[in-house]
């Protein structure tokens, strides 16, 4: 079970990252929850400096740009594998 958080107050890239996460999760039949964090007070507790930020199971994976679909798939698969 993956816990994915997308950090971002609503910029285009943040919305796109959430969509991309949903796509990857669905296509690979991953067991995951996707959560959007939009409040700056909460976002800043992760210590990122640019949005969107991607948090998987409490760990910041990436921040600042939209990853490509294959990169994102890789990350999520790796996170899934390290869990088992």
């Amino acid at each position: 079970m993956l816990n994915i958080k997308v950090l971002g107050a609503g910029c285009t890239n943040c919305i796109n990252l959430e969509k991309l996460c949903k796509e990857v999760v669905e296509e690979n039949h991953l067991e995951a929850t996707i959560e959007k964090v939009t409040d700056f007070k909460d976002i800043m507790t992760y210590g990122i400096l640019s949005t969107p930020g991607l948090v998987v199971n409490g760990k910041v994976v990436y921040s600042g740009k939209l990853p490509t679909k294959s990169t994102l798939t890789n990350w999520l698969m790796n996170a899934m594998a390290s869990q088992n």
Binding site: G8, A9, C11, T12, N13, C14, F40, K41, I43, M44, T45, Y46, G47, I48, L49, S50, T51, G58, K59, V60, Y62, S63, G64
Partner: protein
């Protein structure tokens, strides 16, 4: 067997990396022969008569569009690579503990090379303040980053020459330094929302991995795809506007309204420009049209800077972390700076 496959895919990656360097001489050749290619198209293929308005308009368009696009691709690629050396995290580290003035100078300079998007203005602001970067230094960064961007500089260089581009960069830097310094001196920390100073990053910082060379090159290629892909249409429109009014609208159409003799034109341009919002590329068609028709450079640059550097949406976002008083100070200090620069330009040119 496996290692063979691996080395093969590694080779493929290496081949991909050499492509930008192989393209460099092609770029140079194209850039240097633009005029002859243009002449060949205009007089050889379309066969337009020499000396007519239409000919000079078409000539201008066919020459300028590829020229500006070529420059843009090269600079955006280079800046994309340079930016991999300056992540926001590293910039923050460099600015931490810097005193006013020295801090303002470095923040303004770092504003040019640090990747920045206006949607990240708030997390950046919060992250800087949280780690102890002084408020005035943070503002220097926030002013310089959107104003001096590679697209604006390339367009000014391509269309108006290196002197205009350089002066734009210098004045942008000076505005960012002085505005940030003034905000720091005024001790306005009390106008930042209280919760900002209470933030503590609870989670471990992201471990920063130094990108390898191939990742830097890829970052350059990505930047070209992203930025050139987004702004090319504005450039084509801008140059089309420039070519279209070339010789059709009276030369000093705007001179009375925005010329040097109209002293009030600089503050008026800033007043109109501040609530407007556009990216650097979107504003170029207007700049091109105004300059072509007799508006003075200082007035037009003041307009351009206030549209790009100060924007209503950005200040509304800033409202979440700053009290109204500080936002007003921020906007007025920058606006006054831009007005002064406008007058200086009108005096020199």
């Amino acid at each position: 067997m496996n290692s063979f496959v691996e080395s093969l895919s590694l080779k493929k990656e290496n081949v991909k990396l050499t492509i930008p360097f192989l393209l460099l001489p092609v770029w140079l050749l194209l850039y240097l022969s633009l005029q002859s290619i243009t002449d060949w198209i205009v007089f050889g293929i379309i066969n337009l008569p020499k000396g007519s308005h239409l000919t000079s308009a078409v000539n201008f368009f066919i020459f300028e569009v590829p020229k500006v696009l070529l420059l843009l691709i090269l600079i955006v690629f280079a800046v994309g690579i340079i930016r991999t050396y300056f992540s926001p995290e590293r910039t923050r580290k460099m600015l931490g503990g810097k005193k006013l003035f020295v801090g303002n100078v470095s923040a303004s300079l770092l504003g040019i090379v640090t990747p920045f998007c206006s949607c990240s203005a708030i997390p950046l602001f919060l992250g800087f303040v949280e780690s102890g970067v002084p408020l005035g230094v943070t503002f220097s960064f926030l002013i310089a980053a959107p104003m001096i961007n590679e697209v604006a500089v390339v367009l000014l260089f391509g269309l108006f020459g290196w002197k205009t581009a350089l002066t734009y960069m210098m004045t942008g830097l000076i505005i960012a330094m002085i505005s940030g310094y003034a905000i720091g001196k005024l001790r306005l920390e009390k106008y930042v929302e209280e919760w900002v100073f209470k933030i503590k990053a609870e989670h471990a910082e992201i471990e920063e991995t130094r990108p390898v060379f191939s990742e830097r090159i890829n970052a350059g290629i990505d930047a070209v795809k992203e930025i050139v892909g987004k702004v090319w249409i504005y450039i084509v429109i801008g140059i089309a506007v420039g070519a279209g009014i070339h010789g059709y609208v009276p030369e000093n159409f705007m001179a009375g309204l925005m010329g040097k003799s109209a002293w009030w034109s600089v503050p008026a341009a800033v007043l109109i420009g501040v609530p407007m919002y556009s990216n650097a590329a979107g504003i170029i068609p207007i700049v091109q049209a105004l300059l072509e028709k007799g508006a003075s450079l200082g007035t037009v640059l003041a307009f351009m800077m206030s549209v790009i550097g100060l924007s209503l949406p950005e200040t509304i976002i800033l409202k979440k972390v700053l009290k109204t008083q500080l936002i007003l100070v921020f906007v007025s200090v920058v606006a006054v700076g831009i007005i002064i620069v406008g007058y200086i330009f009108n005096l020199i040119y």
